[in-house]
């Protein structure tokens, strides 16, 4: 039986492991709040991968060439695969995938708000890969060093695939900018609509992010929201300029150089009212995305029941 005394002892062991960069594994003792934080974060991450299949899926049937259709299909499949790794990592915390999905459907669990924006033209497929996956990688690269073993290992695999996604997204944007006037217009339209939602993906300012401090202390998060956002901005603006795209922010200006000699940029603040409005359910596609997932899940119920019944019969 766990007593207060041995809880303190266990906490010391836990903290010593965190300090020594030893991964926490599913069977290890961990503080309740650490487990709770991971359950929330990893499942939210898994749901994001799966809901993220929808905006890109909107263009599979209209992909304009055999190559682009193959790449898009493979990419969306990767996202679903990431969802699988992450649900598996999240299940090691004692909650089943079914329960996580129920929480999602009941509105108790969230997913990345960026997927509540619509994919309106073909260049959106480029912008999602380049900006949304690009923002995700910036965050995920640091999460490879997260303190929870299964999450860290899932992130290492995911990062390998995400960097391919970002490149394919940028390739689409580059091709569009090399193309006709219409294609250039679509590409600029796509960055205009996806730039700010991509920056919002890093979450609120550190000063407004109540969970950041514990997450940093336990090394679940390794870098703060604002720091990661700056990294992304500094990396992405030159990429946009290289192919002739304008970042939709009139206040962008170079304010210095980093240690690598790369530009550091000043930029406008994010429209946080819009961010919270979308988080709270008022994005263009919140209802659509969730309803789509619920409908597919409900329509698949008889298939899952069939598989279970068949397994039960054949395993007798």
């Amino acid at each position: 039986m766990e007593t207060l005394e041995n809880t303190e002892e266990l906490l010391k062991v836990f903290e010593a492991k965190i300090d020594a960069e030893i991964k926490i594994e599913p069977r290890d003792w961990m503080p309740g709040d650490y487990r709770k934080h991971l359950i929330r974060q990893i499942s939210q991450h898994a749901h994001s991968e799966v809901i993220g299949m929808q905006p890109e899926g909107n263009w599979i049937s209209r992909a304009p060439s055999l190559r682009s259709k193959k790449i898009l299909l493979a990419k969306i499949q990767d996202e679903g695969g990431h969802g699988l790794y992450l649900y598996s990592a999240a299940e090691t915390l004692g909650v089943s995938r079914d329960e996580y999905i129920q929480w999602l459907h009941a509105g108790k669990a969230k997913y990345a708000s960026v997927f509540n924006y619509p994919a309106l033209n073909w260049a959106d497929i480029g912008a999602i890969g380049w900006l949304v996956d690009g923002a995700a990688i910036t965050n995920q690269v640091s999460l490879q060093r997260t303190s929870y073993g299964p999450y860290s290992r899932a992130m290492i695999r995911i990062c390998k695939e995400e960097s391919f996604h970002q490149r394919q997204g940028y390739e689409i944007m580059w091709k569009m900018m090399e193309g006709t006037k219409d294609q250039q217009r679509m590409a600029q339209d796509a960055i205009n609509r996806w730039w700010w939602p991509a920056l919002m993906m890093f979450g609120p300012h550190d000063s407004d992010s109540p969970r950041t401090s514990n997450a940093m202390k336990w090394k679940i998060k390794r870098e703060t929201n604002d720091r990661l956002r700056e990294k992304f901005i500094n990396k992405t603006i030159p990429q946009a300029e290289l192919i002739g795209l304008k970042v939709p922010d009139p206040n962008i200006k170079v304010i210095g150089k980093d240690q690598m000699g790369e530009n550091i940029y000043e930029h406008s603040d994010i429209n946080w009212d819009e961010f919270w409005s979308v988080v709270n359910g008022n994005g263009p596609c919140n209802e659509q995305r969730l309803n789509h997932h619920i409908r597919a899940h409900e329509e698949g119920a008889w298939v899952r029941e069939c598989a279970q019944a068949y397994n039960a019969k054949t395993n007798q």
Binding site: V50, M53, Q54, G57, I60, S61, R62, P64, S65, L66, R67, S68, K69, K70, L73, A74, I76, Q77, G80, G81, G83, L84, Y87, W122, K175, G179, T180, D182, Q183, H292, H293, A296, E299, G300, A301, W302, V303, R304, E305, C306, A307, A309, Y310, K313, T314
Partner: protein, 249 residues
């Protein structure tokens, strides 16, 4: 040469349209693993279609690309069978359509593995490896449907009864197919049909599902006379190429 190109298009169009139907199912699977498995099959089929379209473009020597053939023809020029364009009514329909096509592809490519045409021989051998997996998956689902619950068995039987009339077309040789048979380029569809029948009977027996008695064959696709569904599929597939004909993607 023209006959060969047309025969190639029968193979490529079947793969392209079936792959399109499967790709429409992305993010709609009954569970995540199955969603990804469906996409895998779609990817294999689009890869097959791409290889055959590119080869058809090479043979044609009209300066067109495989993409031009895939994306810029009129509906009546597509030579896919009607079965491949049937809609994704539910998971039983999707899997039954797949099962019928997997068995067909398996024996078609087995035959074409000894074609006198080097390209067909090579692509058939490559595709056979993939189709072997597809067929294993769809056969297992048919058996699961039949042996799972009353609902799954009923849904599978309904899909079989509805799709059965489209299976006959798979084995109706086109004029080009018959012409190429003389030089051992195309596959003997009578042989493919006999093997197809045996396999269907075997899996239906294991699944306790019934072959419909109605042997009526709905034909047309191979000759370019499609179902009402086809226009909507092409409206999607060709949308960007039609709207922006000068754009390169």
């Amino acid at each position: 040469m023209e006959a060969k190109v047309k025969y190639y298009l029968e193979i490529a169009d079947n793969a392209f349209m079936l792959s399109h139907r499967l790709s429409e199912c992305s993010s709609k699977g009954p569970f995540l693993e199955e969603d990804l498995a469906g996409t895998n099959v779609a990817l294999d089929l689009i890869g097959l279609a791409e290889a055959v379209y590119n080869e058809a473009a090479n043979l044609n020597k009209q300066g067109e690309t495989g993409d031009d053939i895939a994306y810029r023809r009129d509906e009546h020029e597509y030579r896919n069978c009607l079965l491949t364009e049937q809609p994704n009514t539910d998971f039983a329909f999707i899997m039954t359509r797949q099962f019928f096509m997997d068995v067909y592809h398996y024996y078609l490519f087995t035959e074409l593995s000894s074609s006198s045409d080097k390209f067909l021989k090579a692509i058939a051998a490559k595709s056979l490896k993939e189709v072997t997996y597809h067929l294993r998956r769809s056969s297992e689902w048919m058996i699961r449907f039949g042996g799972g619950t009353d609902v799954s068995s009923e849904k599978a039987q309904k899909a079989i009864n509805s799709l059965w009339k489209y299976t006959g077309e798979l084995f109706e040789p086109s004029a080009e197919d018959l012409l190429l048979r003389e030089t051992n380029v195309s596959a003997d569809l009578e042989k493919v049909k006999s093997l197809w029948d045996q396999k269907i009977s075997e899996i239906f027996y294991l699944a306790d599902l019934k072959k419909p008695e109605n042997e009526y064959k709905m034909l047309g696709g191979k000759k370019g006379v499609h179902s009402e569904h086809m226009g909507y599929m092409l409206a999607d597939i060709q949308y960007l190429n039609n709207r922006y004909p000068d754009a390169k993607w």
